[in-house]
Symmetry: C2
Subunit: 346 residues, 2 copies
């Protein structure tokens, strides 16, 4: 049995004002009709033997998850955000309750996949390596020397195109990124495929305290319908850690599978500009927008008309409760600025 | 008796989205607490012998005039906008009914005067020359080589600092404007002081058809309380013409009085930027605005927070129903763009 585990605990502000603490970007429709979490949930429906997804999120977002995905998923409520490892561990505990041999596919809820068919094919391949006991992570084949991602250095080939993991490396500067590109390093996309039981075993070995606290939080949880609230006393004691740090960098069972499927984590408005269909002036527009002498800009109106004149390389986003105007080169800075805003705007 | 004549027939879109057909800029507060028409109406209150103002406006704006000025003014409703000469002529007909020797001070309702005391002093001076039979216009002493105004060439001095008018000249190019500045030409501000009866006499001489049509429209008008609706059949037949073209350029009784009182017609958003109090980064802001690495920009929020990052020389205006983002150098182009918008946005 394959169980999609959808991680929806993030509340990124890099897409402020569209992505907010109260309304993170996974609940928004950014590039199509469906929201990102809806696209995520439907990403594996073409595969056979796929069970209902498990969604891990904060209490503030449970209703949005139910609204957008319907009542089908099981929901695990994190009392606090603790990075990805505890979230995945609690999902694995729920998965083994369904099926001791369950293979989980860990999917961040706010990524875009352009070629869903190819992605499903690669997940299917990864379930084979996972079935052989490998802890598989996808490594996205880079399309440019990105400095915004961590990289994975592939090691000795194993099977089905997968390799051992030689090293995880941090976000590089642009020279290092160029070298990584030449040397065949892959982007670390945070998408994993492994047997739930294997993850728990490895977590117990490499992060025993976390394993114990997550287990206690799960055992002390409260189940209401499909929704399980993890016990906050144990959960709050957990040290936040990513899956990479807690398990993947230490395990001897790691594998990486190269992926080329139009992946993006939509890390900034500049990325959304790149993903959009630019017109002949290089503009990507959405909503009621009127341009005159505008070049290479992203203009998005959600609630009222936006008129733009004589500018270039801007990102302009109008939402029901705020307006953002910034240079495309400032797209990485919005996170810092958004954090300084009054609470009701964060 | 001095009667202020406030011209409120304009519906300029150069300050779109704040100035609209339905809500022209004279009804907005742009630089202070009061609206521009309120400031205009209170501009002469320091002078003695000033009677209630006469306001000329379109039917669509009567209620705004009453709301903003109270019930005190007499209102003349133009069935259609016909430029300034017919508006002033109808006001002069109303003025001579109050007092055959009334001196009218023609005030556009959408100008800013920085030094109201000086302005009142100059109006007082102008009423003296007007009492001697001169048709007096104010010529603003230029502060830079503006290409956005017509100019007045002063002629032979008469008295009280006033001169005959040598010539009215059209908006110049920048080289010509520089020469005008050196040669002591003055900006044509469209502010006039004359005896109402004199204006009517001169209009009858220099624009007899207009004189006849305005007289007929006035005689056929409908009076309701303080509000007089001019007869539309005659009014609609009038050829639109400015006071300058209809009378001032032809009359032998013209005079110009130099004025230096912080005058502005707020012709564009760039002007509002210039009039504002810039902070150390050269930004003029109003409303709930958050800036980061922004220079020399005008940012105005009327209804919701506006966040701006990494840009310079922009004009950003957010109103209840629209957003404008433009380069400061494009400030003159908004008029053209606004006219192409759907009717409900004009």
């Amino acid at each position: 049995m394959i169980i999609p585990v959808i991680l929806s605990g993030g509340s990124g502000t890099r897409l402020w004002p569209l992505s907010r603490k109260a309304m993170p970007k996974q609940f928004r429709s950014l590039t199509g009709t469906n929201t990102l979490i809806q696209d995520t949930a439907s990403r594996l429906t073409s595969l056979s033997n796929v069970d209902r997804p498990l969604v891990v999120c904060g209490a503030a977002h449970v209703n949005r998850v139910i609204d957008q995905l319907g009542v089908a998923p099981s929901i695990l409520i994190e009392p606090a955000a603790k990075n990805t490892a505890p979230a995945v561990a609690s999902a694995c505990l729920a998965a083994v309750e369904r099926d001791a041999n369950a293979i989980v596919v860990v999917l961040p809820s706010d990524h875009v996949i352009g070629d869903v068919t190819e992605f499903a094919r690669m997940v299917s391949l990864a379930t084979t390596t996972a079935g052989q006991g490998y802890m598989t992570t996808f490594g996205v084949i880079p399309t440019y020397a990105a400095t915004g991602y961590g990289y994975i250095q592939p090691g000795r080939p194993i099977a089905h195109g997968a390799s051992r993991i030689a090293a995880f490396v941090e976000k590089p500067d642009v020279n290092t990124a160029t070298r990584y590109l030449e040397e065949g390093f892959l982007w670390n996309a945070g998408i994993f495929v492994f047997r739930a039981a294997d993850f728990l075993t490895e977590l117990e070995i490499h992060a025993p305290t976390m394993f114990e606290l997550v287990t206690t939080a799960y055992e002390g949880s409260t189940l209401t319908g499909n929704t399980r609230l993890l016990d906050s006393d144990s959960w709050n004691a957990i040290e936040p850690l990513s899956v990479d740090y807690a398990v993947m960098e230490s395990t001897t069972r790691g594998a990486v599978l190269p992926l080329s499927c139009g992946w993006s984590d939509i890390g900034s408005w500049a990325t959304l500009y790149d993903l959009g269909n630019a017109d002949k002036d290089g503009n990507v527009v959405g909503g009621q927008v009127y341009l005159s002498n505008v070049k290479n800009s992203y203009v998005r109106s959600e609630s009222k008309p936006v008129v733009v004149l004589g500018v270039h390389d801007l990102i302009i986003v109008e939402t029901e409760d705020s307006v953002l105007v910034m240079h495309r080169d400032s797209a990485e800075d919005i996170k810092t600025v958004a954090e300084r805003l009054p609470d009701d705007l964060k």
